[in-house]
Assembly symmetry: C2
Homo-oligomer: 253 residues x 2
DNA sequence: CTTGACCTTGTCGCAGCGTCAGGGTTTCTA
DNA sequence: TAGAAACCCTGACGCTGCGACAAGGTCAAG
């Protein structure tokens, strides 16, 4: 047989057969006078074994290993390992499928957050928050929440969102005050008022974390970046609000 | 933030972040005086979006596409496509897992065919055939059956194995006769007897196919190879047996 | 004699980074 | 104050299992 024939016979491409030769999986057969490879029954039998194994999902080096030891013992081990692997993959895929269908339901239910798919917790928080008026600060805040959604590990997320829940109700009071400070300097007189209102709607527990609420090591540079992203007066107001929350927490303890 | 910080924050490696820069997924941020990349909040937000999307299983180019159109419409399409894809993958994996567990059961039940895992049909055929005495011809035959297992498409397999079923009962009579011919020439007097016995235990329907029983286009070269793999007298016996079967079929019709 | 279907070797490409190699910078520590 | 640890930089190769060329040679049929 020539390479195309044996390949068609076993159900692979000639390229694959040559690849198996190159990788030492299959011995090179004798050549005809014209240089063509000439395959016999033994080659076909071997190639069929290779195909059965790769069809099961074994990698080529695993196949090589299984073909190497003529005992079937190694094969069983490999198959067991493979079974574990497939089980893991399947559960991963199923998890992703569930997340996906939930997201698609959300999306088709009308609202798809323009910042991409978010965690269920944050999605419900934003849904409860409703439509805010046109506000640069609100937009920025939503982006930061979306960031936190990735930063905060899954087990913390529910708790953190719970904390935010209370703050969300007063959002419509705070954002205008902060928006008004967008062009102001740090010593603007409106800073104190904005900080007072902001602090009033933040829960005590928030002060325990970094200013941002993220309990991670990179917190300080993240906090720096967050403040650098604000106008001077806004930054001052948030700083002040954090101090107020901390002080309030001390008193309440 | 430096690259390691933003990467840890979002939960990817610095290498991945640089990769995203290279592939245009994420804009290169400004550099510090020392050449270090300096990341801000906007970068973190973007990177977080990228991570959420890749976590869902999107490819990087799909992510790029989704980030490009600020409408969420394209996103939904991509997600639907991805959901289909995942469904397909899951069923594939489940099918393989079922095959695997069946094979592992077989293997742990004692007998694992040394030629690797076979189809259920062939496995049961071989099991019913039981332990044959030490016979080169029987060994070769099993290998060829294993080859057929791959060659024959799934829907034909059951029928073909059914045909073999009858032949298997007389295997212990035929193999010794063929083994005895291993060193003989084609004009050996024992050829006729071997062919007669062999033909007697093959069903009529077998003659309808190629000598090998494989109904495919490459049949002739496969048949050539099969006969080339036998000793001259064995080849002659099988040829003769096939002719006997064909003649018998003509008569019975 | 040409056309088309084969065969040959060799090379690049693919996804998504991991992993050196070979350098500089910053920072903590003894 | 020096040295080590822990960062950062660019650039390049590696991995899986082949697919897809390129640039030829070979063979059967029209």
């Amino acid at each position: 047989m020539r390479i195309g024939e044996i390949a068609a016979l076993v159900g692979v491409t000639p390229r694959a057969v040559r690849h198996y030769h190159q990788s030492g999986l299959l011995p090179e057969p004798a050549r005809r006078a014209n240089g063509y490879r000439e395959y016999g029954v033994r080659d076909a039998v071997l190639l069929a074994r290779v195909r059965r194994l790769t069809e099961l999902g074994l990698g080529l080096d695993e196949v090589r290993g299984v073909l190497a030891d003529d005992e079937g013992r190694g094969l069983v081990e490999v198959l067991e390992e493979l079974a574990e692997d497939l089980a893991r993959q399947e559960s991963e895929i199923r998890a992703r499928r569930e997340r996906l269908s939930a997201l698609l339901d959300e999306a088709r239910a009308g609202r798809m957050p323009a910042d991409g798919p978010l965690s269920p917790e944050l999605t419900s928080l934003l849904a409860g928050l409703g439509e805010l008026p046109e506000s640069p600060m609100a937009a920025k805040d939503r982006q930061i929440l979306a960031l936190m959604d990735v930063v905060v590990p899954e087990e913390e997320r529910a708790r953190l969102m719970g904390l935010m829940e209370g703050a969300a109700e007063h959002a419509h009071e705070v954002y205008p005050l902060l928006d008004a400070l967008s062009g102001a300097e740090a010593d603007d007189p409106r800073v104190a008022e904005a900080a007072r209102v902001l602090a009033a709607c933040l829960p005590d527990e928030l002060g325990v974390h970094m200013p941002s609420g993220a309990p991670d090591e990179a917190g300080t540079s993240l906090a720096d970046a967050l403040f650098a992203d604000l106008a001077p007066a806004q930054s001052a107001a948030v700083h002040l609000a954090m101090r107020l929350v901390r002080e309030r927490r001390e008193q309440n303890r």
